[in-house]
Symmetry: D2
Subunit: 461 residues, 4 copies
């Protein structure tokens, strides 16, 4: 249609080009279009239903916005820098398309509640996508645990070998972390699911609007209770950042272990070629770049949290333009996190474990000393005395350059008369089997835990 | 009793004094004593019930620990640096008091699950105390709103006066923030309420323990599902830090407003002498030090969050000594937050508002322009056209150096024929009353919101 | 030329598409091209000079790279995603253009020292640009101070009016902050100006290279002293982040004051239309969006510092792929900072100060009480006693609802016999003039300070 | 002397107990006493010299303060909570001791410039102590390198073995990092060394003071140029935090390597008993707790930086009470850093390296492949072609399950006719020796680097 009279930004019209560029967000906020359009359509329908605008105008607006959405999706929409953000770009285009009816869309709302609504819809959508991808990662993790159900490895404290455990048990520790992450994301979702539209600039609007029906149409759980809070609040974005930061922290621990385990020194895993870089000259090399990058990106996710907390510090109510700076850190964290979850979900099932080497590592040294001590305790020796007896035994074995398994029973008995044949039968498998408590590494417990985890995933999915 | 044989730290005995000092936490972890003792008593009772130790030993342990708790409370307990933390100090004292039975307390547990249990009990206790203090702050806030129910003030955007609002409405925005904070603390509580005891060093323990009964006795909602996760996890501490960071951010906004409002330029509040510092020479001065300090302490609460996230980054499983560094940032944040909540709760009711000055500020200038535009929209003019008409009107008034209320009707009508006598009756009170939507600032809505807030508080309390 | 045989990434050839995408930096690292090319040319020339490659090959390489630089500048260069970063894209193109000689460019270097060299050249270039822009901002600041040399305003502590000062004196406080920023950036420059090339992958290279000549050609002050450090180190990037964080902190303080001063309550400045947004309906409005955005972006600059510190935490030597994550936070901070400096440099000279209102604010109340006390001290009264006398006087004046200037001499003398006619002549101008010490606000001192600042700027420029 | 009239805090007298407690810093700021007293003595002397107070009063003040310092050092000084900070405690005690002369000390200064002066003296003192301790750590590092000059180890990238290096070369990488840290601390010192005293509350003072002489007496390089900046600025504290954060980051990398190297998998070092904790039951265990704690404390040092940056964000000029929150994070970082440097300085010389195991690790696998390729390049093959030939060779060797050293010459020549006997003589020692470039790992270069490092240390000391 004809561009009869040039439309200008109502707020930015006099800005120097440098200032317009500095304050414009159109370079990065276009990702919000589906949310902005959905919210505008719901708003227009409500205005029509409430007779605040004519039902005819409401229909025109809805049709116009639907067409604009298609223009954006097809790539033919021309974003214009002079209209500083996505919201104004869409509104201007609407007025070009449908004329004065377009000028009625902004009745009973302001940029402040409009922007807050778009951001909340975005975060709700992200919570859904993250939960889904996290479930896929948990599913992959369980698959690895199930396929390697018999693999034994050393459990570590201080990066020193402690007690033998099942690899599946170790992996289930990450399953638990991700469960908590899902719980945290769910809390974020709950707090986000609140419609700000209707708050106007800050005080509410002087029109007989029906906020509940808009909330329902857009899928919000409830409407915001206070108009000033509605336009001032960005807690929901910080909530997403904190959920993301803890999740990335968990991933950084898993990534660290993948790096360690793929070193020549550990040799626990061989990385699949599809997820390792080589060296131009040492083609056998399998560098754990993906894990390193995931670990490194933890920094950015932490940084984005700090950026947003800092931005919010000591802002007086209600809306301040500082709030525009909520977007880039959020988009960066979301894309970082989603891509990291995806690539790990693809990589985990392709890891090859060297079960023999892992079990050997679990058997070496004096890792079974606690089992020996526990056997004495079960025969009545106080815990601290049993520990002392075994400590002396270990020092003796070490002086003889023998493993505990190489000692004869009478050598054992020099340190406690309570030792008997049972002592000789202690090995990694008996040690693991003995930890038969809820949450313990005994095979029967791990099998139960895997089953339960599968059930939890189904419930989540 | 006689100190027959010197007991040494089982793990730190050979440490150089410098290294012992560097690794000791006894200087700051004694605050954990009630939690450590409660957990040990519950553990000993269970060991007795399960016949892992004799019921006689279990009773001796319980009696000994109860006495030790009294010694600590009365200040006669002598903390010893050579026993590097509170847990060992208590255990050593127990062995001094009850002899070999004391050596059985550590059966079927390790320092790793013991420490995790103590920290979780501490955080659960903190969640309770914070929630209570937050409720008290909300109660104070509601009191201020109720006592000043008729006070009108300018609502601000960009720290520019926007639309008039009720002070009570403005304060209710903070009530909403604190509601979300309570929700966040509750989520922290839920994720914390999981008993790690029984995880042993990392793999579970080889004794027929009954974890569920210990959980029940200590008030945990459930037992941890994976022993490796149980000793590696500090999410619950980060959760508390994130809850605290967002809460302090809210407080920093309130503090900023108190600073602004008590400036000579705003002049909205006069600080009570009990909560302001003066100047040695200008005794009439009322510096808002408390608000400034609260605002400044936001930094420390953010910093402690970042400290803990950094500490956890890329740690391989399971327990690493780095985790000891979870304590000081946590204690610092808790004491910062509790004292800040307390002092604000006491200060808020003592603020004196200058209602006349606040209403005057809300009336000056062209703050009612949007109300004029809305009156045209309601008469059928498209939103954007109405805005244009009023914008021209404002420019005209400004050129005449008149307020809008000083213009005659025919001056109005030069800019739109739709203006009628209604335009002349617009004032701050009609403007406020017009925002009669859920969440809006109309007195009837604010009264409802206050009532609802009172009900919510009662439900929370 | 013909693309005879398809060249593949030597390190990433087997990567799954998802993994390639995850690890690729080509999307954002192309900004490094001038630095990468300059370093490669210097390297090739040196290889030629040292007869490590033929001088003919060296010339071919130089010519090829020069052409590639033009292709990039003209926009005809086709970046290819399958070559994961800018370095490989350029090398591949070189081999397409000049054949096997291109395969000799990478002699005696590795991606590790190449990347470190490019990043250092980038940071050196940024230090230069920042210093220049900072000088421009300081110049603008001095201009404002000089044009408003007679403007008096209240100096604030606790956002309460303290003593009167010259606006120029207040602005010079920012000049000093920016001087320190320049010093910090200079320290960053010094530590960055160290050539890593020659470190190879990590251990040095087995060729008779001449590192000093490469350093000289590229403008580095010296060569790195240790090859492992050379490829592991990113301190220079953190140095830039810390310089940026402190500079943005300063800017956030200035921005805060612009926001305060342009509020109706302060009314000290009127923002130029070119640097303020209006309201669609209140065209007289001048929202301080630029200052708010600058204040808000402080968060991102802090966050990027934290991101990079976190990334580096606990990385073992030498190169780890995590280091690739140094780029995006750096680029984000640089563009944030440069644009902020630019927009402020343009905005400051356009601020309109309301001198009358500022002086009135400085005169109101009891701001001159300290001057009265100092007059008593100069007559021999101990400081603390003088303060007490004036404090009593102020309370008396307040009870009479009078300003100090409205009191008669005998009223003064009720509080101290030392008061004489001098007391009646104290006003903002005498108060300001009395602070005639180095660094004080007396006009003569401020004039000197302005002159000195101009000289310092010339020295810096 | 008699406590004739009770002295009250001039600013905090009316505070509610809760508010006094909240705003008091006396609990933690007493460490500043030597700096506060030194500054007060220098101030009093100058006041006497300038005849602002009588020389008799000046002498009384100096004598009184000297006595107070002794009271504090001997522990007999009674800190009183009702005087909220160290500065007032000392001033009150002075007035008790010397009467009205004590009331003249505060002439021509205010708490604002006094506090800033004390903090700067503290930071200058910390810079000195840190530099000294850092030199001691570097000395220890060089000692370890020198004592293990022949030890060979794998150089790592991606935690994969890359090329063999000397352990001494690896350790020298840390020497370089610490050199940069010293440079950063020096920059902090330079920017800190500026006397704020004379700025008064904010505007300068109306007395003929001689600031230069006070600066000289206290050892400052210069006086501050602007009184408002002087009381508003805390850059010097942030500078210390950033220096500390980068230094702790370096330490976290060293700590990570100590943890890795002392794992059973690496087995490169055995920790001295004095710096390792054991297990009650596995007395042979050597847990790297000191390294883990150092790594973990990195978090707190980062967090304190973030705390202080956050505190300063967007504070208007000049002094605000928020600034009091500069102290605790600073003290925490300083004690963290000093103790970490001390314990590492003591621990490093006691590490036992397993040279045989390290060299074996450097020899295994295909770590010498790049040396082979470089030998081909030196015979004229383009770099990329040489890499391809060796890559094929490595794959062949791997398929034969042979090390490169196990292949016969004709097997080599299948992949390039340029291979000759030289290929067979490549081993870790020839590889290391070949990297004979400045900064490279060749023994002759490392020996030079050690010598140079020793000289640099002497220059620094």
């Amino acid at each position: 249609m004809a561009k009869q009279d040039p439309i200008k930004s109502p707020t930015a019209r006099g800005l120097a080009p440098l200032a317009l560029q500095y304050s414009s967000s159109i370079e990065y906020d276009t990702a919000l279009y589906p949310f902005d359009i959905a919210a505008s359509i719901a708003h227009a329908r409500m205005l029509g239903r409430q007779n605040i605008i004519s039902s005819d105008d409401a229909k025109k607006i809805e049709r116009g916005l639907t067409e604009i959405e298609k223009e954006i999706e097809s790539g033919e929409f021309a974003w214009r820098e002079e209209f500083e953000d996505i919201h104004l770009n869409i509104e201007v285009r609407l007025r070009e398309k449908i004329g004065s009816a377009g000028g009625r869309l902004h009745t009973a709302r302001s940029r402040n509640d409009q922007v807050a609504t778009g951001m909340r819809l975005f975060v709700l959508s992200v919570c859904g996508a993250l939960t889904e991808q996290l479930t896929a990662l948990q599913d992959a993790l369980l698959g690895v645990a199930e396929s390697n159900i018999d693999v034994v490895m050393p459990g570590y404290t201080h990066l020193q070998r402690g007690q033998p455990v099942l690899l599946a048990h170790h992996l289930l520790a990450y399953f638990e972390m991700f469960e908590r992450d899902a719980h945290r994301i769910h809390g974020t979702f709950e707090r986000t699911s609140e419609l700000p539209l209707g708050a106007g600039a800050l005080a509410g609007v002087p029109y007989p609007i029906d906020r509940e029906s808009v909330a329902e149409e857009l899928g919000f759980d409830r409407i915001s209770a206070n108009s000033i809070d509605a336009v001032s609040d960005r807690d929901f974005i910080i909530d997403l950042h904190t959920s993301a930061a803890v999740l990335m922290m968990h991933i950084s621990r898993l990534a660290e272990e993948i790096v360690l385990w793929s070193s020549e020194e550990f040799g626990f895993i061989r990385l699949p070629e599809e997820f390792a870089t080589g060296s131009s000259i040492m083609p056998q090399k399998r560098n754990p770049d993906i894990a390193e990058l995931a670990r490194g990106r933890t920094g950015r996710v932490y940084g984005n949290l700090m950026a947003t907390l800092t931005m919010m510090k000591a802002l007086p109510l209600s809306y301040n333009r500082d709030l525009q700076e909520d977007k880039r850190p959020l988009f960066d964290t979301v894309s970082n996190l989603m891509s990291t979850l995806e690539v790990l979900t693809a990589m985990l099932p392709a890891l090859e474990f060297d079960a023999a080497r892992m079990e050997a590592a679990a058997s070496e040294g004096y890792a079974l000393a606690t089992d020996l001590a526990d056997s004495l305790v079960r025969k009545g020796l106080p815990f601290r005395d049993a520990h002392q007896a075994v400590a002396d035994l270990v020092l003796y074995a070490q002086s003889q350059q023998k493993a505990l398994g190489d000692l004869a029973l009478d050598e054992y008995r020099r340190f406690s008369p309570l030792f008997d044949k049972d002592a000789l039968s202690i090995d990694v498998h008996s040690s693991i089997a003995a930890r038969d408590v809820p949450g313990g590494t005994a095979p029967v417990r791990v099998a139960e835990a895997l089953k339960l985890a599968r059930e939890r995933l189904k419930g989540d999915a």
